[in-house]
């Protein structure tokens, strides 16, 4: 057996066994990389340490802590709350209105924050108690909010796109642009699904808010609404790069929170910084471990080995795409988005490119699929958040999320069949 094939087997076994027994993933990746180095005759502990550090030592990745910081500030400084309140005055009165509020707010907040968990937590904290009060079935409400939360990594800015872009050397700005239309379509899919599941709910409706009240709420949210304009406008017009956009978003959120909304005290800043730094450290430590494994994956040319085995599939891009999507759905049931990107993107993308699939389109599909994995059992981090905030048993949330999961799967299938839906708008916007 060739060294490459041996390395491949070590990789698969390492991942399955070390992760399977519940070891922390960063160290599981480090040890897997070390074992691969051993069989490939590349053993040196310096290389392990060097790559751990190199996995973090990257300027574009600085966008990760900055966007996390921006998200923390948005939640602490009342920016998220004002968006939800505004959505409520406009659509809160229609039947099932709080559901539409959740969808609208999810899409708006997605255009400011890059993290599904932060958005979900904010939506669930504010909306779930209101929905309970108005007689909404809790499992459906929780399912809807979880599904709305995962729009955040699709509409720019997006932390997973940054990690994907850095891991696979794909243009982050192109990835950002590619997410706009699919993200909006996810929102549309949720609206349709919500309308269907609404039937048969016995709901207590809100009275409509007069126009003056709507305008007042919109006025209060105006600083929040300016945020996506600044982020996307600044990036498109060249005032700053995607990495810098993240830091601009954080400073904007800070100024609005401290001086305009005045909902945050400067003394609270330390806590916000610590939380953002801790979250970042855990994500990036995983990137560090993954760098060791991906260094060895590149050296062993695993994509080449795997591509050889896939053989005839590579000649049919759409079929290959469908197969890879099914594999990713399966991976997504058990693995979170970030580790999925770090471990599988470097292996899968070269095969996709070889089959003639556009790397930006592939990136969008990969991240979209991984984001859906955040709301599939058994391991769905976003489900955990909703269950935790709403104090609901996990099996209820899983039951409630099902119809939305189905609609997202249809959206995903639509993009496999018609890649133009994704690629045409990107070409037009660039």
């Amino acid at each position: 057996m060739s060294l490459e094939a041996q390395a491949f087997i070590v990789f698969v076994l390492g991942m399955l066994v070390l992760m399977g027994i519940g070891m922390n993933m960063a160290f599981a990746l480090l040890l897997t990389g070390a074992a691969m180095a051993w069989v490939m005759d590349f053993w040196d502990t310096q290389l392990l340490a060097q790559n751990m550090v190199a996995g973090v030592d990257s300027f574009p990745l600085l966008a990760v802590p900055f966007f996390i910081l921006a998200g923390e500030l948005m939640n602490s400084g009342g920016i998220s709350r004002r968006i939800i309140e505004m959505a409520q005055t406009w659509v809160g009165h229609i039947r099932g209105g709080l559901g539409f509020v959740a969808i609208g707010a999810a899409v708006l907040m997605a255009s400011m924050s890059g993290s599904a968990l932060a958005d979900t937590a904010a939506l669930a904290t504010i909306l779930l108690p209101m929905m309970r009060e108005h007689g909404y079935p809790m499992h459906r409400s929780a399912g809807l909010i979880a599904s709305g939360g995962i729009i955040a990594p699709i509409i720019p800015p997006s932390m997973p796109f940054i990690i994907y872009g850095v891991t696979t050397n794909t243009s982050i700005s192109a990835l950002f642009l590619s997410g706009i239309v699919p993200g909006l379509m996810m929102g549309a899919a949720l609206i349709v699904t919500w309308k269907i599941v609404l039937r048969g709910m016995d709901l207590q409706d809100n009275p409509p808010v007069p126009m003056s009240g709507r305008l007042r709420a919109t006025g209060r949210a105006v600083w929040a609404l300016l945020m996506p304009l600044i982020i996307i406008g600044g990036m498109k017009s060249g005032v700053f790069t995607p990495t810098e956009a993240a830091v601009v978003a954080a400073f904007y959120a800070l100024v609005v929170s401290l001086f305009i909304h005045r909902e945050m005290k400067i003394s609270a800043l330390h806590g916000v910084l610590v939380r953002a730094a801790k979250t970042t450290a855990v994500v990036m430590f995983l990137c560090a471990g993954a760098q060791v494994a991906s260094y060895m994956i590149t050296l062993a040319d695993l994509p080449g080995v795997l591509g050889g085995w896939l053989g005839p599939l590579v000649e049919n891009p759409r079929l290959l795409m469908a197969v890879m999507m099914i594999v990713l759905v399966l991976i997504g049931t058990a693995l979170d988005l970030t580790p999925t990107i770090l471990i599988f993107a470097p292996v899968m993308l070269p095969i996709a490119v070889k089959a003639g699939i556009d790397p930006v389109y592939f990136g969008l599909m990969f991240v979209l699929n991984g984001a859906i994995g955040l709301i599939t059992p058994p391991v769905g981090t976003v489900l955990n958040v909703v269950a935790g905030v709403g104090r609901l048993p996990m099996h209820q949330v899983i039951k409630g999320v099902n119809p939305f999961l189905l609609s997202y799967t249809l959206v995903l299938a639509l993009f496999v069949l018609f890649p133009q839906i994704v690629t045409a708008p990107v070409a037009w916007m660039r």
Partner: protein
Amino acid sequence: QDIKPRLIRFGYGLNEQSNQGRAAKVFADEVAKASGGKMKIRAIGAAALGPDNQMQQALIGGAQEMMVGSTATLVGISKEMAIWDTPFLFSNTKEADAVLDGPVGQKVMDKLQEKGLVGLVYWENGFRNLTNTKRPVTKLEDLDGIKLRVMPNDVYLESFKILGANAVPLAFSELFTALETKTVDGQENPYNTILSSKFYEVQKYLSVTNHVYSPWIVTVSKKYWDGLSKDEQKVLLDAAKKSRDFERQDTRAEAAKALADLKSKGMQINELTPAETARMRDKLTKINASIASNVGMDLWKETQAAVAQARGGK
């Protein structure tokens, strides 16, 4: 001959199809031939072993055997390498070859040994030239106010500031996007890079400034080198020299073709008169003084003398 079976990992940054990749292959073939197939070079491109600075640390620590990379990234390890960053040091490749392959080039290379690296030969990356979206740079004043991306390195930053541009340091990975969105107006790189990075898609004017000559340097881990026999060292050195001669010829042919390609892709190309080049050079005396004090006045003078000799001897 005292030659043992050996596997040598040779890392480089560009891909296999580049001039660097082709020359690495020539080097590998030459080593195999001269050692009767006993010494095997495993050339690994596309920065799969990491960027230049990461590979350098691996060589010093003995975790990797060989690499080729930019001399500019070695400045932090051996300050004498900064001599090659001097703007307008060489006016053509003939001067560059004479000085780099002569005693001065060897002296600078030998300084690496104290730091755990053995330099074998210099390859050519190429003369750096300037592109931008604002106007053709035909004279010194044309640089005024152009927002120019330069390598994050004090010499380049200061030089272009003195020449009147707004020099901006930016990671290479962000450069294309920054040019596309006009975060910066221009950049400077060899023709081959301008072509392979598709900068012609987002840049209009290419001005042939030849403002600095960038060499690459082939290095071996000293820990590894010291464990080789004299015969084995000779195999590597001879093969490196052959790869150097091939690489320079190949790179120059490719640069000429790249320039023609850039023209056919619609870039507007202009040359700088020798008088304007001299004006720019004269403006940079302050930079030269600081380089001279960094690398040592003796080395600076020897280099200038070697350049003058090469220039006179044509």
